[in-house]
């Protein structure tokens, strides 16, 4: 009974943390290359809708994930064109992009859903992955596919960033674009790649939200989760490993809020939901932002 409760809670935390992990990685990938990816919230929302539509219309949630990835690429292209190549202000672009994303996703969903019938997406699990994977997937059954992917990506990005040559170049662009440029690196290309990757990660976060948790689309359903990802990056001092724990902590806050709401007693659930933001502000107040990539948010002009 006790053990069951804890296992249940742990799974709830993982479920809540998975979308955050993707978004946080999407923000981190960009910040490390010198881009402040405020638009991750919009990418996430677009990914959430694409995942639902893909899963419903093909009947296969794995194709929903593919649709989310494509949508993320599209979002990344727009954002990279705006903030890397023109370059327009990253923050203003991100905020405007998020607004457009809210409008476009709600508009498309309304057009496709006639008569107010909700589209319910089949949830993503190992069963649909294909028979030949059976021996492997049977063992993994308890961890949802996208959660596993997020965990692998966290480790992968951590190793890539801090233990490989390309990772060093990646970080150097975020640290000092001018120096990286002088060393012969294409700052614009690295930043565009980071934004493409970051937007795909954001869209995957949306897919994790719809295919792994709430199986439908609701207007503006991400409700600032992309920004919790942003908070996790700052709280985690721009390191994937620390960021991972931040996401777990914030996911736990969300899971606790739901539990408090369900039990109808104790602390007001909204205090738990304040947690990510208050903790991040406290972390900024205590440690400062000195560890962040120095050139994050600054546009780079060629030549």
């Amino acid at each position: 009974m006790e053990l069951d409760w804890w296992l249940d809670f742990l799974l709830a935390v993982l479920r809540a943390a998975t979308p955050l992990l993707f978004c946080a990685l999407g923000v981190l990938a960009c910040e490390r290359a010198g881009i402040l990816n405020i638009g991750v919230e919009g990418s996430m929302l677009a990914g959430a809708l694409a995942a639902v539509l893909g899963a419903v219309f093909t009947g296969n949630p794995w194709l929903g994930v593919a649709a989310a990835i494509l949508t993320g690429l599209l979002a990344g292209l727009v954002l990279a064109g705006m903030t890397v190549y023109l370059p327009a202000d990253q923050i203003a672009t991100g905020i405007a992009f998020n607004l457009v994303s809210i409008g476009v996703t709600s508009f498309i969903y309304r057009l496709l859903v006639e008569g107010g019938v909700r589209l319910m997406a089949p949830s993503l699990n190992w069963g649909q992955a294909g028979g030949w994977l059976e021996p492997l997937t049977a063992r993994l059954a308890i961890i949802p596919p996208l959660t596993l992917l997020a965990l692998i990506l966290v480790i992968g990005v951590q190793v890539l960033l801090f233990s490989t040559g390309p990772g060093l170049l990646w970080r150097s662009v975020g640290e000092s674009a001018r120096a990286a440029h002088a060393a012969g690196l294409s700052v614009l290309r690295v930043r565009s790649l980071a934004l493409l990757g970051g937007s795909v990660l954001g869209a995957l976060g949306g897919a994790a939200l719809t295919l792994g948790w709430v199986p439908t689309f609701v207007d503006n359903m991400t409700m600032g989760r992309g920004f919790i990802g942003l908070a996790a990056v700052y709280f985690g001092r721009w390191r994937p490993d620390l960021m991972f724990f931040a996401c777990l902590l914030f996911g736990a806050g969300e899971a606790l809020a739901f539990r408090a709401q369900a039990m109808g007693a104790g602390l007001n659930p909204y205090y738990y939901l304040m947690l990510p933001y208050v903790l991040t502000l406290a972390a900024v107040a205590i440690v400062g932002m000195a560890m962040g990539p120095r050139d994050a948010g600054k546009p780079f002009l060629r030549g």
Partner: protein, 356 residues
């Protein structure tokens, strides 16, 4: 780069700054309206009918007019809350949170201060202004003492404030008779009046227009405005010229945030009459596109009006023609993207001319 060759590029850039930026903003808005028109068409509605529905929804009848004008007040003040600090180099993304806290503060005063109406109203307005400024105080402090980017900290404050507001309206401030999260309705004598009485014009509109004119005067006709621009343009140079840069920045940010707080108080006391779930929509957030497109307090007033009309009008458009009101969000974001892209493109052309 030799001076003589850079002249053409410089001229292009200087041109861009004033008249061109107005033209660009206008073009962006027009392009976006065109895109909206296409979306309405895609949704299977007659664009002309949709437009009529929109105008009717925004202006026909006293309630519609009052809603539109109230939206205008909130959006204008939120726009000024972004614009004034922006001039000093502080990107206040936190208008939404400042507005929420303004509403909460006003609600606390109205619910708990045992004072006669005019006094309580004055106290509530003071409280919302202070609450707005205080909410910006944390990001401001972190920027000055820790060098923390205000963009992230104000975003964090937005969400923290929103959750705090929800905790209040489902907790200590909740209307005991309500099944959802809301404060009690503002008692009749304590509401902001309409002027002239019985018309559809909230008295806060006069305040908002007055404040926008005041901001225009402050930014373009006073030494303080000049200092703001200097601090925002080149901080080190401003400091070298003897301007107390931190003090100028603090004043600008607190002033802006106070206006956002006031927007929250005005809406609560004059229009929504409750601080409730979703009561503030996205007024604070919309201040950002409005400030960027408006470019000056008068521009904010103008663009704010357009946004307010679309906001109220779109709801009746959805009811009458079935075109989703969510299109409003597209219209809030798209012109900014176009404006930024055009502006950056022009700047690039200026640089290209320089390079020749």
């Amino acid at each position: 780069m030799p001076m003589s060759l850079s002249r053409a590029g410089t001229r292009l850039r200087r041109l861009m700054k004033t008249r061109t930026s107005i033209t660009l903003a206008g073009m962006s808005l027009l392009f976006s309206l065109l895109a909206l028109w296409i979306c309405v068409y895609l949704a299977g509605a007659d664009p002309y009918e949709a437009l009529t529905a929109m105008f009717r929804g925004a202006f026909q009848g006293r309630w519609a007019l009052r809603t539109t004008l109230s939206e205008w007040v909130a959006i204008t003040l939120s726009g000024l809350a972004v614009l004034i600090p922006y001039r000093a180099g502080f990107f206040n993304v936190g208008g939404q949170g400042q507005l929420e806290m303004g509403g909460v503060a006003a609600a606390v005063v109205i619910m708990h201060l045992p004072a006669p109406p005019p006094l309580a109203l004055a106290a509530a307005l003071t409280a919302c202004v202070l609450a707005g400024a205080l909410t910006a105080g944390i990001p401001l402090l972190l920027r000055l003492s820790r060098g923390a980017s205000e963009v992230t900290t104000t975003i964090m404050m937005n969400f923290a404030a929103m959750r705090f507001m929800y905790a209040m309206i489902t907790g200590p401030l909740q209307d005991p008779g309500a099944w959802y999260g809301t404060t009690p309705i503002v008692p009749a004598g304590y509401r902001l009046p309409l002027f002239p009485p019985g018309s559809g014009i909230p008295v806060s509109l006069f305040a908002a227009v007055g404040l926008a004119l005041g901001a225009w005067w402050l930014l373009s006709r006073t030494v303080f405005g000049l200092h703001l621009r200097a601090v925002g343009g080149n901080r080190a140079a401003a400091a070298a010229a003897g301007i107390a840069v931190d003090r100028v920045l603090i004043k600008a940010v607190l002033m802006g945030a106070a206006l956002a707080g006031l927007a929250g108080g005005f809406q609560y006391l004059g229009h929504t009459l409750r601080v409730a779930e979703g009561w503030s929509k996205t007024w604070g957030l919309v201040g950002i596109p409005v400030a960027l497109l408006g470019g000056s307090p008068l521009g904010v007033l103008l663009v704010g009006f357009l946004f307010a009309v679309l906001e109220t009008g779109s709801r009746s458009m959805q009811a009458l023609t079935g075109v989703p009101a969510a299109l409003v969000f597209v219209f809030q974001g798209l012109p900014v993207l176009i404006y930024l892209a055009l502006g950056a493109g022009l700047r690039r052309m200026g640089d290209a001319v320089d390079a020749k």
